[in-house]
Symmetry: C2
Subunit: 315 residues, 2 copies
DNA sequence: TTGTAAGCGTTATCAC
DNA sequence: GTGATAACGCTTACAA
């Protein structure tokens, strides 16, 4: 393993010059810089991250804390982790997966937190190290998320354009910010078209939205599209419509939200908002590392939604 | 942050004594040990992992390399990672997710590799650091896996016990060891009952097994049970049987393998082997850390399969 | 602009 | 059995 000293010898400079070339290149003359670069290349020098961390009193560890229950989950979080890990790897940081319980065990340089609810706000505020949330919030924490409002706004717009005359919103029964935003997108689109919003909310389980449709089937007019807050709810709606003999997409439309996995296993596939979770994960990582290394706050980073066409809206 | 020196001062010993209490407690007298333990407790001392790593020339990083394509995946790997991360956290190691491409970037102390195919054997053999595979193999690498053979053996046995007269095996068209084992379990059970094995193999996509049943529907006698090598294949079989008007579980049986996610979203739910991936992940971590810290080879670690009852076999 | 010295928190080595 | 010393590879502070 080649070290700073090896490079320094080869380049006939002190090891400090080498260190400076790496960390403060503007404070070294170009000639020396060239010499050092050459030596580094010849020796295939890679800085020792551990030594760096020790000298800097840093850990090079980022903790990812998933506050939601992850037993019942889709590959959603897997993709998030892949995205985060990708960025962290690039910067030689490593990712530690923690829960609320083992959160404080071991040191780290910053946190990525997802699945935050109101009850979590206080302890997050008390954290002394940089934090980036995955998921919008109204408490001033930096975050990365899809533009939730735009998502349901666009899907509602598309449904109307396809000729569905009634739009019913099927939401998640939760006080989280993303849900308010998704509702707001639907409401805005509906009101712009002088229609009356109709919202129903359930826990995020497909059998709940399924039951709702089955029990209210006779009151649901043909030519209705359901704008759902998640693919999970959309799947339930779809199953119920089919079981009740409704025709998708001819007589009824369904849209989801997430586009990670569930939309694809449904039949017909659900027209949904595809969130590029991997990219968003990478963005979380980059935001956080910026914050750690520069001390600057990044502010929210919002991804614009993309519609992923399935077979649950008319062509 | 309290250090060795702080503890040493408090306990009136040299820092080396403190270090020894931690790493070689047998080489310190009991009296001093007590003093040191007390000082550590009072000061809430936690060793600095980074400094340790620097002194030991270690990294405290474990790389997890998933060789399979993970775009099309269930929460399978998520659970694996959770399991691994749990153990590593406990031992203050951290997990780095890498692919074959960025495999060599950055140092580490050991590898967990999953999804190995024959083509990967050579480079894995060349690795100089400890390795544990997730998934059985016949190349002598240490691994953790479910007892695949026992799994299909048990499911076949159950199907026969429930009165199905024909058993057809639907396998994954792959030369990996786990597939051979699953086939072997089926074959053994069938032969013990003096029946003739019938095997079909497909890539692991539900629509392929689905097509097979649809195209051969008239040749498939009532009272047949399909023993599938994965829940994915089982879902396809189930869909086809239902579409063709067959009755599950009355006239046809289906069993899967994995029990992670897909078995639950099917309707009726698939009777399958539930692999406790999280536990197995933890075991991977423990095996690897043992190997790293003691230098000892652990050998394979096999988990006994558990049947998870769904609604695709008669009661 | 460059180099020297000290220190980050730990462990291995070798005296005592 | 215990302690002083050097070393791990790097960075900051200070001196030249």
């Amino acid at each position: 393993m080649t070290t700073l000293v090896d490079v320094a010898k080869k380049a006939n400079v002190s090891k400090m010059t080498v260190s400076r070339v790496i960390n403060h290149p503007d404070k070294v003359t170009d000639e020396l810089k060239q010499l050092v670069y050459e030596a580094m290349r010849e020796l295939d020098y890679h800085p020792n991250v551990i030594a760096k961390a020790l000298a800097n009193k840093s850990t090079r560890i980022i903790k990812l804390c998933i506050l939601e229950d992850i037993d019942t989950t889709e590959p959603y979080y897997m993709n998030l982790m892949i995205g985060i890990a990708k960025t962290l790897d690039l910067h030689q940081y490593s990712l530690q997966l923690v829960t609320r319980r083992n959160f404080d065990i071991g040191n780290c340089d910053g946190y990525i937190i997802t699945g935050m609810r109101e009850a979590d706000v206080d302890w997050i505020k008390k954290l002394t190290k940089p934090v980036v949330l995955f998921g919008e919030n109204r408490y001033g924490f930096d975050y990365v998320d899809t533009n939730n409002k735009a998502g349901t706004y666009l899907l509602s717009q598309l449904a109307l354009k396809k000729g569905y005359e009634h739009l019913i919103y099927i939401g998640i029964d939760s006080k989280e910010s993303f849900e308010y935003s998704r509702e707001a997108g639907y409401i805005q689109q509906v009101q712009e078209n002088r229609m009356v919003p109709e919202l129903h909310r359930f826990d995020n389980h497909s059998h709940l939205s399924e039951e709702y449709v089955e029990q209210n089937w006779k009151n649901i007019p043909k030519n209705t599209a359901f704008i759902c807050a998640s693919d999970r709810l959309a799947i339930g709606i779809e199953r119920a419509i089919i079981r009740c003999g409704g025709k998708i997409p001819d007589d009824f439309g369904v849209t989801g939200f997430d586009g990670v996995f569930l939309n694809q296993i449904a039949s017909p596939r659900i027209t949904t908002i595809k969130q590029s979770i991997i990219e968003m994960g990478s963005a979380c990582g980059e935001n956080l590392l910026d914050k750690i290394e520069s001390g600057e706050t990044s502010g929210p980073l919002v991804f614009e939604p993309k519609i992923c066409l399935g077979g649950t809206l008319r062509n």
